[in-house]
């Protein structure tokens, strides 16, 4: 069950890629951040690539732009994972 695994997966991220916490507590500053976490969990499961694949991309995104807000790096990692599996935003006509 994905929900049960959420805590384990997130807790397993102990390096600079671990979710930002306010005084030790993981909190979302906006609803889209929680949805981005849910998307990552669902996407790795549906693609069958494993959490490590996502975690590695997140680390790379953070290293590429250390000053960027954490969940924007998370989102970039999610976009790159999706794009590499044929789900790219560029397919969408600009609004």
């Amino acid at each position: 069950m994905t929900d049960r695994r959420t805590a384990a997966l997130i807790e397993a991220m102990a390096g600079p890629e671990a979710p930002r916490r306010a005084d030790g507590e993981m909190v979302f500053e906006a609803p889209w951040q929680g949805r981005a976490v849910a998307m990552a969990l669902g996407l790795v499961e549906r693609l069958g690539v494993g959490w490590e694949e996502f975690r590695r991309r997140l680390v790379a995104e953070i290293e590429a732009q250390p000053g960027r807000p954490y969940y924007e790096s998370w989102l970039a990692a999610l976009e790159s994972l999706a794009a590499d599996h044929g789900v790219g935003l560029q397919e969408r006509a600009p609004a």
């Binding site: 306010a22 507590e25 924007e72 989102l75 789900v87 969408r92």
Partner: protein, 201 residues
């Protein structure tokens, strides 16, 4: 990173869009491609906030209700007692405060939003709100009443300030009619709000 107001700036492409819009666009695409459903995302978010997490705490509470030895252990070392049931996190220690006929406990984090998330999941939005954090210290009885939790006048209210080092969990009193129920049945009666102390069972 400057983002202005973030509306109507579509000229720079997805990379420059506000993250809200990018997340929404990706979500729409994943749903359109039938990789994820909106229901899945909603379920992960809301169950993690209000169901899956608190269910862990509910099991701890139910066990304490039926097993006096476990209850004693829980009050003495909540971190170890919760870990015994498989609920542990990397973050600091947990402490349990017991409600009695004379005392009602309620938890707040005045500095931010410290919360015992291995047993309660993600904190609800109101827990993080500045007004909850300020008023629960200043006027707990009035705020609790506004939240629908009426504490009898002869019951003392104790407010506990959670920190990164010590996160509090309230051990509520069992509701009327709890006698004779199994531990599993009892766990279903325990709500998240009762374990934060903003509800009585």
């Amino acid at each position: 990173m400057s983002e202005h107001d973030g509306h109507g700036h579509d000229h720079a492409g997805p990379a420059a869009s506000p993250p809200e819009q990018r997340a929404a666009a990706l979500e729409a695409l994943l749903i359109e491609k039938e990789i994820l459903t909106e229901g899945f995302i909603d379920t992960v978010v809301t169950t993690y906030e209000s169901r899956v997490g608190p269910m862990n705490g509910a099991k701890v509470v139910a066990k304490a209700w039926v097993d006096p030895e476990y209850r004693a252990k829980l009050v003495e070392d909540a971190t170890a007692a919760a870990a015994e049931l498989g609920f542990k996190g990397p973050q600091g220690n947990m402490a349990v405060v017991e409600n009695t006929d004379e005392v009602h406990n309620v938890v707040v984090c005045t500095l931010c939003s410290c919360y015992p998330w291995p047993v309660l999941g993600l904190p609800p939005a109101w827990y993080k709100s500045p007004s909850y954090r300020a008023r629960m210290v200043r006027e707990p009885r009035a705020l609790l009443a506004e939240m629908g939790c009426h504490v009898p006048d002869d019951v003392e209210i104790r407010v506990w300030d959670s920190s990164a080092d010590k996160r509090y969990l309230v051990l509520p009193q069992p509701p009327a009619g709890a006698e004779g129920k199994s531990e599993e049945e009892l766990a279903e009666l325990v709500t998240r709000d009762s374990m934060v102390g903003v509800a009585r069972l």
